[in-house]
């Protein structure tokens, strides 16, 4: 046996697997968007199993709050670009595959070009804007999307937009046509159990391998729900064919941000107004000043009384970005800014 096949002998021994199956994996080109709690384990297993070309897209840097679930990273790498660190480690794990880092924020302006180089996309993102963007782009490009999402102890897995007998299986918008992101807490706010991220990421990699090797039943037209507290899971049938019609991408909204360091200097120089959009409980635990208006009350309670730019902050930068988007519509000619990375980044970087 050739040395490169010896590595894969324990998977080539599987029923339905052989050298031809390994060739399918070697020739496959998979794009992983986001190397967070889902992307890390998914990338490890796809690299291990010999997926020939793995693209890793992430514009973010490693932060200390990532380390409880993002197992590719160590404290030494805090501040480094995740995509670069991940590619370097995965390359060492399997020198026989090609790793392609994409250090960029995937937006409506670049996603279609990015997808051209890949056969399939794995969604390792952590926000709704990115999930809808990937979904719509995969539908427009006619490529399958292996979706995963987690919150606290619960996870979801599905494979969207699989071509079957000339039509496409359902996509994310068949299940969730649109979402008000500000109403659904993310992992920073609601927490997440690290082992769930590992399970769901491995399940996504598993769907990728099944799809590429044409073995097993891919979760197309279905959504798997997993509960890590009870280990009960269920598969919801969505249907055979999509009922949505997606013809263009929503434009990615640019939210102006300020770094913790810039904000600190700006506050000292009295350049900014400051608004905390977190909940009362969060406010009471800790704050960096400013007016307190929970995001849900922003529409009624926020009144512009200053000429200065207004900086909004929350725990992670997510609710404050949402606040900026809403107030930009109300005050199109005024400067609304979000604290990048929220109080988490403030505490880590200052």
């Amino acid at each position: 046996m050739q040395p490169d096949l010896l590595r894969y002998s324990c998977q080539m021994a599987l029923p339905g697997f052989d050298e031809g199956t390994q060739d399918l994996l070697q020739n496959a080109r998979v794009l992983i968007v986001g190397t967070g709690g889902l992307g890390c384990p998914a990338a490890q297993y796809l690299a291990a199993a010999g997926v020939g070309t793995l693209g890793i897209a992430d514009f973010d840097t490693v932060s200390v709050g990532n380390l409880h679930r993002q197992v590719l990273f160590t404290p030494e790498e805090i501040g480094q670009m995740k995509a670069l660190v991940a590619c370097e480690k995965l390359q060492r794990q399997n020198p026989g595959i090609k790793l392609v880092p994409h250090v960029l924020k995937v937006t409506s302006a670049n996603v279609m070009e990015l997808l051209q180089e890949y056969d399939l996309v794995l969604d390792g993102t952590d926000n709704f804007d990115a999930k809808y963007l990937l979904n719509d782009a995969c539908v427009l490009a006619g490529k399958p999307l292996v979706y995963g999402a987690i919150y606290q102890f619960e996870g979801q897995v599905a494979v969207w937009n699989v071509k079957q007998q000339g039509s496409f299986s359902p996509n994310y918008r068949d299940v969730y046509p649109e979402v008000d992101a500000s109403q659904v807490p993310n992992c920073t706010e609601g927490g997440v159990i690290p082992t769930l991220a590992g399970m769901i990421g491995c399940m996504q990699a598993n769907e990728v391998i099944k799809y590429i090797t044409k073995t097993g039943d891919v979760l197309a037209g279905k959504m798997l729900l997993v509960d890590a507290q009870t280990m009960l899971s269920r598969i919801i049938k969505i249907g055979a064919v999509t009922k949505t019609s997606i013809t263009s991408l929503s434009q990615t909204e640019e939210v102006p941000t300020v770094s913790p360091e810039e904000l600190q200097q700006g506050l000292e120089a009295e350049l900014y107004e400051l608004v905390d959009v977190r909940s009362l409980a969060e406010r009471e635990a800790f704050d960096i000043g400013g007016e307190h208006i929970p995001l849900a009350e922003l529409d009624e309670e926020f009144h512009l009384t200053t000429e200065k730019p207004v900086v909004f902050y929350c725990a992670s930068g997510k609710r404050s970005a949402e606040a900026v988007k809403r107030l930009q519509k109300r005050y199109p000619n005024r400067q609304m800014i979000s604290l990048d990375g929220g109080l988490k980044a403030w505490l880590e970087q200052l």
Partner: protein, 80 residues
Amino acid sequence: MKINVLAFGIAKDIFGGAATDVELAEKATVTELRTSLEAQYPRLKQLASYMVAVNNEYATADAVLQQRDEVAIIPPVSGG
């Protein structure tokens, strides 16, 4: 008829527990279930969309509910 509705994700917070009961007319549709739940729990409507699954199957707006159906509310999840 009284329908027991299971909660997933943020719906557990909204219902204040893993399940809630809803009183509906016989042969009520999924739309009527949504309307009733949203009246009781306004935050549910604010999500903009959430899946209703009946007996582990995605339920369309006009699907008719039976007393013994297992109904689940599955909101979107964004973490990663």
